[in-house]
């Protein structure tokens, strides 16, 4: 088993690493293209999506990352990470990677004063609902045929989606003390393709 990579160019990557640590899953910081080798999965953390996409391009990571994902690298984007991996955005920028067949609207719940916490039932997560933290969060506005909705807030507002080995959440499990979503992703990443 190879470690889980955490994209460490901007945002709350340390919180993801600490969470993986807390459940005994080995992780590694990814800042440059060559660091995409020898990982089973990649987490793209919360942060500013415009900044993260721009830095992915500046450091030449776009093509290597798309190539690895085509070959089955598991990828999970949280909040900004969801925007980064989407196929389409409702906004003009940034230019997303297109790893998942979803359309995403940025800041869909409003500005910072509208940021919120709530409890959320998620398909595939057993036990009590997960506590979910939404910070200037995006929302999935359209999904492709292969995309499965894992959780919604209200009707028709998907906030957790999965397509094969790719996972995206509008919220930040890494800001809570509940590692179940990280365990779920690690299972996907370490499972045989």
């Amino acid at each position: 088993m190879a470690p889980i990579g955490v994209l460490a160019i901007q945002g709350d990557f340390l919180e993801h690493i600490n969470m993986l640590d807390s459940i005994g899953i080995e992780s590694v910081e990814v800042r440059l293209p060559e660091q995409l080798e020898n990982i089973d999965g990649l987490i793209i953390p919360g942060g500013e999506s415009t900044t993260i996409v721009q830095l992915i391009d500046i450091y030449g990571m776009r093509q290597p990352l798309l190539e690895k994902a085509r070959k089955g690298l598991a990828v999970w984007g949280t909040c900004a990470g969801m925007i980064v991996i989407a196929k389409h955005l409702k906004d003009k920028r940034p230019d997303p990677l297109g790893l998942m067949d979803i359309e995403v609207s940025r800041n869909a719940f409003g500005r910072q004063i509208d940021s919120f916490e709530t409890d959320l039932d998620i398909n595939g997560i057993d036990g009590p609902p997960m506590h979910a933290v939404f910070i200037r969060a995006p929302l999935v506005t359209k999904i492709g045929n292969e995309v499965e909705i894992l959780a919604e807030v209200g009707q028709g507002k998907p906030v957790a989606v999965k397509q094969n080995r790719i996972l995206a959440t509008s919220f930040h499990p890494e800001l809570t003390e509940d590692p179940r979503m990280h365990a779920m992703f690690a299972n996907i990443a370490h499972s045989i393709q």
Binding site: Q10, G11, D12, R111, Q112, I113, F116, D119, V153, G154
Partner: protein, 299 residues
């Protein structure tokens, strides 16, 4: 599964959480929507909307207040990254106005003329998060006690001189490691000496870190300055006059962003530092009389 949301807004987690998302990033002072777009395109994680950058406030003198709400709204419209704005120390009505405008973060800032020389804003009352300046750990913990969800060094804004930001960052980080190494029975006396809430001192002893994100601000004007502050141990940087007072703002802005991400990589720092044109002119802070130093405002 569809969950009916019972949303809980303005909580400590969402307020301090936004600052977590800004880590490793650069927050830039802008005075027009066009500058805000340049900052966003250069990779800024947020912009600080204000009427005059600190070096102009310093040059103009007089009373510096919250910026025109019209200008702040135009900047909010112009970009998709978070927009911060400054309120005077203790001026909770300016803060109420900024919150009503939809500002994403309020900087209760010594760069503006203080409205209250005794009391800072009671920041727990607001849904919008606050960032506050600090020169040492006691000041940082007093602000956190009042509800600040993010801390920055005060530095000496508008001076183009990094020396005060270095002093303040080293002081805060040094005091944190000192407390971490203490015995538990020394914490109450330390809280007394720092004039800081005991529970927060105890938290530092346990975790060895501030409970909120800590940025550098005040005097950062080159990529090397930004990387210096990151290597000293802050989570990100504010750049005020340093960008739009430089010769080629868009190039300087992008160079400071890259230097902040790759702060440990001297080759990258060398490459981004080339061909930037003139940086902003600087001031020797030692020549400033205390009455002209922003950092001594607030306590």
């Amino acid at each position: 599964m569809a969950t009916e949301i019972k949303p809980n807004t303005g909580t400590w987690t969402v307020k301090s959480g936004l600052a977590q998302m800004l880590k490793g990033g650069v927050i830039m002072d802008v005075v027009t929507p066009d500058q805000a777009k340049i900052a966003e395109d250069a990779g800024a994680v947020a912009v600080m909307a204000l009427e005059r950058v600190p070096s102009d406030i310093r040059a103009d003198g007089g009373v510096a207040r919250m910026s025109d709400p019209q200008m702040i709204s135009e900047i909010i419209e112009a970009v998709t990254i978070p927009v911060m704005a400054k309120a005077r120390i203790g001026h909770f009505v300016e803060a109420q106005i900024l919150e009503a405008l939809g500002t994403d973060y309020i900087d209760e800032s010594e760069v503006l003329t203080p409205a209250d020389e005794n009391n800072h804003i009671h920041k727990h009352n607001f849904s919008v998060p606050f960032v506050c300046g600090a020169r040492d750990l006691g000041e940082a913990l007093r602000r956190i006690g009042e509800g600040a969800a993010m801390i920055r060094t005060k530095g000496e804004a508008g001076s183009g001189n990094i020396v005060e930001a270095v002093r303040h960052a080293r002081k805060v980080l040094g005091q944190i490691s000192h407390i971490k190494g203490m015995e538990s029975d020394e914490l109450m006396a330390t809280a007394r000496d720092l004039k800081a809430p005991y529970e927060l001192v105890k938290g530092i002893h346990q975790t060895g870190a501030l409970p909120v994100v800590n940025f550098a601000a005040g005097g950062i004007s080159t990529p090397a300055d930004a990387a210096l502050m990151m290597q000293i141990g802050v989570d990100g940087v504010f750049v005020g006059s340093g960008i739009f007072k430089s010769e080629t703002p868009h190039i300087m802005a992008n160079a400071i962003v890259k230097a902040t991400t790759h702060y440990k990589d001297p080759e990258m720092l060398a490459s981004v530092s080339k061909g930037l044109g003139a940086s902003m002119p600087g001031i020797d802070v030692r020549t400033l009389p205390e009455s002209e130093q922003f950092a001594t405002r607030g306590w």
